[in-house]
Symmetry: C2
Subunit: 256 residues, 2 copies
């Protein structure tokens, strides 16, 4: 199984603290050593880094760790290959364009039979069940909404329905972003945490690193972090309920 990390904020925020913890699980504190990738949104653009190597030994991971990229939405994934060989095209997050927006997707789990679902507009480049599921979801969204739906609620509803349907095929913990909202679907395991004033300190579980967010933030900052398993041991992470779609915008949970 893989590990997921997502971030959604109201001001562009640096993810390096959380990323530093996650990448340890890519071969050092975890067995997810079959590649990793990250997608950072900047405005309407989306910048991705992918590496089919273990993240704990990756030069590109070193770059991401040493280079401050501030972003409103981030999706990151470290891979333990269960379906599809280890290569660049099978490395999450996957990206596609719909409605002139850049969409990114990463998945933890296995899906049985997803590859027999027919596709119309989007086709996988690699061979994972995950990319097929992403293409299928975008296909269905596009078929139902050739133009963006008028309300955010309508989009949330169709994503929830589709994620429920995919999830019935196996395990489907998912992060999906349309460059505005971070959609998190919990099938078995996904936790989240919102950091906002008054900020405090936090220490990573997977490596010795502590940050004092009082020094890194402004009072109005709201930053939500989502991960397969909590990344810090001194903050109030909440587990999402199995079978739930939890969308975040501007750092806050929406649509309840």
């Amino acid at each position: 199984m893989c590990e997921l990390l997502g971030m959604n904020c109201n001001v562009p925020t640096d993810i390096r603290f959380s990323f530093s913890g996650l990448i340890q699980r890519g071969g050092r504190t975890g067995q997810h050593s079959d590649g990793w990738g990250i997608a950072f949104y900047e405005g309407r653009g989306c910048r991705t880094f992918h590496d089919p190597q273990a993240s704990c030994d990756s030069e590109i991971a070193d770059l991401v760790r040493s280079h401050s990229v501030k972003s409103l939405n981030v999706i990151c994934h470290i891979r333990k290959a269960t379906n599809g060989r280890i290569c660049l095209e099978n490395t999450h997050p996957f990206t596609r364009e719909l409605w002139g927006r850049s969409w990114a997707f990463a998945h933890n789990g296995r899906l049985k039979g997803i590859k027999s679902r027919r596709l119309r507009f989007y086709r996988p480049i690699g061979t994972t069940d995950s990319e097929h599921a992403f293409c299928w979801m975008l296909d269905r969204i596009r078929t139902r909404h050739p133009e963006p739906p008028a309300s955010d609620r309508a989009l949330r509803e169709i994503i929830r329905e589709l994620a429920d349907e995919v999830s019935a095929l196996g395990v489907f913990n998912m992060l999906l972003c349309d460059s505005r909202v971070l959609y998190c679907y919990c099938s078995t395991e996904l936790s989240w945490l919102t950091r906002r004033a008054p900020f405090g300190k936090a220490s990573l579980i997977d490596t010795e690193m502590t940050v004092d967010f009082r020094k890194e933030t402004s009072p109005d900052d709201i930053v939500t972090v989502v991960a397969t398993r909590p990344l810090t041991h001194d903050e109030p992470w909440q587990a999402m309920s199995p079978g739930s779609l939890v969308p975040f915008r501007d750092g806050l949970r929406v649509g309840r």
Copy 2:
């Protein structure tokens, strides 16, 4: 105007020598300081790096220069913004998926009226004339060929026709790759060079750097490099003819 660099080879090859010359033109020996980007193909996958900053000062360019990525097809672009503001989503190369293949595109020139062409399947994420032209070309290819054409020749012919049509709107020097063939369209300025045995030395024009390809290659290697202007001063670069599509596969020109 921008500058383009492309590479097509029969064995995965490191582009760092040519890249080191090109990025000097991004603010040091040239005025193309409004961002840069590069797409490397690895198997069916495509890895991109984009930076809206000047390439000569870019940390990500330093990474690309210091990190050996070997690739059969590369497209690189340094930008002098003429249409569309300076931001990540306006930074070439642009990428999209068609037929389960990753396509990458970069453009030098300006196109008048391209944005009034209607689009069906692909929409720009940014605001450049270039990305609109790319979306329009893929739209037309997809409309005519919902499935990949049976012959490489048919695909070359449609790309040639579409490039001619776009070129009539202004200046259209273009690099396009479908993960197999590097299609180069010369509207005004594009040069190329094929390196093969017996290999020799070459020296960059834009920075002091010489490489002895005898030490870097095997006798069977064939590597074609394409650039807006020659990158070395001691090799036999050839100018492409205005109005020509020149496709390369496995390092060699095809379809004459």
